[in-house]
């Protein structure tokens, strides 16, 4: 360092870099605060992006060694993939996109842990051979403070000459969780993109045992590595077992449970980043990782609550069996009492209503009907009909999925009602128009204790004066449960693709 100008020394000093990290982290938090409302959200996101820029610059200041070419190569590759993907993705494909980005993040964590092991793994455990004193670079690069770089002062809990045991623990933890979330997210992506069948794929009752064995194997390998098994083969084996675990956890999960899974994987990647942060002694990584972890955990919990299911039950998979039985019973009970309607009749019904509540579901996303729905709304508003949208937290395939689609179609934010806000309004609603939503409107969740979805909070569509349901066919939804709503005397079914059905109603309305 002797030849460097004082300014360079200052810029590369740990204190200065640390201050930059604090600034970056403060900007992340401030940015996320902006997400509390739609007016401040855009700004909030950009504030967070600036924070990220600062964190990256701070880190580049620190890495005095170089390898600039490789850094540039990695960043260029990332930009070349990330920018077009983010620009071109359709709003209906957003769940896949989020799953994919999430997986990539988990993959990065697993790879980083792997390299850490390659570099420091020989010092894991008590049989340390190399001494850190021989590698001052590791002290600089790891941003370590003196206590660990000067071996004389190392406290007894730290193995002499090696990286501290806790570094190994956090690094191995990050590797396992990162690998699980990389593979889990990729499977979720495959299911959402329909590369892999969306229905649950599992070993049936053996599934939990398989998952448990894989988890134990991964943990055992991890403990062995921390204890000082200097085997890269074992490390790779651990990554592979974790990969299998990621597959085994997500494959049995069906489409409608996706919101929970995506949120959970989001939490996992966050926690793995925080663990990497502890292993690398990088405060920016710790804070950012924990924030993502908190966000994912909150969302997972919200989604599970909105389905009245416990997270372990969803992970264990298994909605199918009981649901199918109940569905069969329901069909026998109700067969033949469904009333179907036409677009023309539906248009008349809507035109003479004062208040219409639209209840969108995954069917609207599949049919890409959001713009058609917006056109219908405009036509109704011309006729002084008050229109709003009731959105169940788990409608669609990820948290907030419906809201994004409707926002894309320029539906004003204040017309979107959350479940708690919407439910009291159904009683004052003349026509509830259900578009591709099923289980979230099923009164069985309130009335039939034997139903598998009993206790799940629903949109109380049946409270409105009349109901029109747009649906492809009478096939039961994901849960395989017959929807009592369809047999209600005030419900009319309009069979067809959501987009064309809605467009037909709009056309009929225009002619009235």
């Amino acid at each position: 360092m002797t030849g460097l100008a004082p300014a360079t020394v200052f810029l590369q000093s740990e204190s200065f870099i640390y201050v930059l990290y604090i600034v970056a982290v403060a900007l992340f938090i401030q940015g996320l605060r902006g997400l509390a409302g739609p007016t401040t959200a855009v700004r909030g996101n950009r504030i967070a992006a600036v924070g990220m820029g600062i964190a990256v610059i701070a880190t580049l200041l620190n890495s005095s060694e170089g390898n600039w070419g490789l850094i540039a190569l990695g960043i260029a590759l990332g930009v070349a993939v990330g920018v077009p993907a983010a620009r071109q993705v359709k709003m209906t494909a957003m769940p896949q996109m989020v799953a994919l980005f999430n997986g990539v993040g988990g993959g990065a964590v697993a790879l980083i842990s792997w390299v850490e092991f390659r570099h420091y793994g020989s010092t894991y455990g008590s049989h340390a051979i190399h001494s850190v004193i021989d590698h001052p670079a590791s002290c600089v690069a790891r941003n370590r403070f003196e206590e660990e770089c000067s071996s004389a002062l190392i406290p007894t809990s730290v193995h002499i000459g090696g990286v501290p045991t806790y570094v190994a623990i956090f690094s191995v933890f990050a590797a396992i969780v990162g690998s699980v979330s990389f593979w889990g997210s990729n499977i979720a992506f495959g299911k959402l993109q329909e590369i892999i069948p969306g229905r649950p794929i599992s070993f049936g009752s053996a599934q939990q045992i398989v998952n448990f064995v894989l988890l134990i194997l991964a943990l055992a390998a991890g403990i062995d590595l921390v204890a000082g098994a200097h085997s890269e083969l074992l490390f790779i084996g651990m990554l592979l077992v974790a990969a299998l675990l990621g597959n085994a956890v997500v494959l049995p999960i069906g489409g409608a449970d996706m919101p929970v899974v995506i949120s959970m994987l989001n939490a996992f990647t966050g926690l793995s980043a925080a663990a990497t942060g502890v292993a690398l002694n990088n405060p920016a990584l710790i804070v950012a990782g924990m924030i993502v972890g908190a966000s994912g955990s909150i969302l997972t919990n919200l989604m599970a609550t909105a389905m009245n299911r416990s997270i372990p039950a969803i992970v264990a998979g298994g909605f199918g069996g009981g649901g199918a039985v109940a569905g069969a019973e329901g069909a026998g009970e109700h067969a033949g009492t469904v009333r179907s309607t036409t677009a023309a009749d539906a248009a008349i019904q809507l035109a003479y209503a004062n208040r219409v509540m639209i209840v969108p579901g995954y069917g609207m996303a599949v049919a890409q009907a959001q713009h058609a729905v917006r056109e219908l709304t405009k036509e109704l508003e011309k006729r002084q009909v008050e229109v709003s949208y009731a959105i169940h937290p788990v409608a669609g395939r990820m948290p907030g999925h419906m809201n994004v689609l409707l926002a894309e179609a320029d539906v004003p934010y204040d017309q979107l009602k959350e479940m708690d806000e919407a439910n009291p309004e159904f009683q004052r609603t003349d026509v509830a128009l259900v578009i591709g939503a099923n289980d979230v409107t099923n009164p069985a969740a309130k009335n039939t204790p034997s139903s598998p979805i009993y206790g799940m909070p629903i949109l109380e569509v049946a409270d409105s004066h009349s109901v029109i349901v747009i649906k492809r066919s009478m096939n039961p939804g994901f849960a395989g449960i017959e929807n009592e709503l369809y047999f209600d005397p005030k419900t009319a079914m309009l069979f067809g693709d959501a987009k064309s059905a809605v467009s037909e109603i709009t056309a009929e309305l225009a002619q009235l």
Binding site: L32, R46, L111, R118, I286, N403
Partner: protein, 123 residues
């Protein structure tokens, strides 16, 4: 005298950050949960820093270097893609000037979008 070690300092940061995250994220309305997920994905891209730090090490083998380049690429995809896609989504949530009856305002949206892109390119 009790010396705070690096570990305990980091654990303190970890726990406090968890609480802050919990408080801040709890305030995000359901409507914005998809942008929240893609936004936190972008923030998760911070693992890029780990890749950058390790690339600064000497004596890295070719294989380690290759792994790190992939990790850096992954992290960059997270950051750039995540912030861009979140920006795109949030632009759509903006309350349109003139209240609920205004129709599409294509020119306005396009302009705001390109401003956002410019910023991303710079950082």
């Amino acid at each position: 005298m009790i010396l705070a070690s690096t570990l305990t300092t980091n654990l303190a940061i970890l726990v406090l950050a968890g609480f802050i995250g919990f408080v801040v994220i709890s305030k995000v309305p359901n409507t914005l949960h998809t942008p929240l997920m893609s936004g936190t994905n972008a923030i998760h891209g911070i693992v890029l820093l780990g890749g950058l730090l390790l690339l600064g090490l000497t004596e890295l083998g070719a294989f380690s270097k290759a792994l790190l380049v992939i990790a850096v690429a992954f992290g960059t995809i997270n950051i750039v893609g995540g912030f861009l896609v979140t920006d795109r989504m949030l632009e759509m949530f903006k309350v349109k000037p003139g209240g609920r009856d205004t129709g599409k305002d294509g020119g306005d949206g396009g302009e705001a979008k390109s401003a956002g892109d410019g910023r991303e390119g710079g950082s």
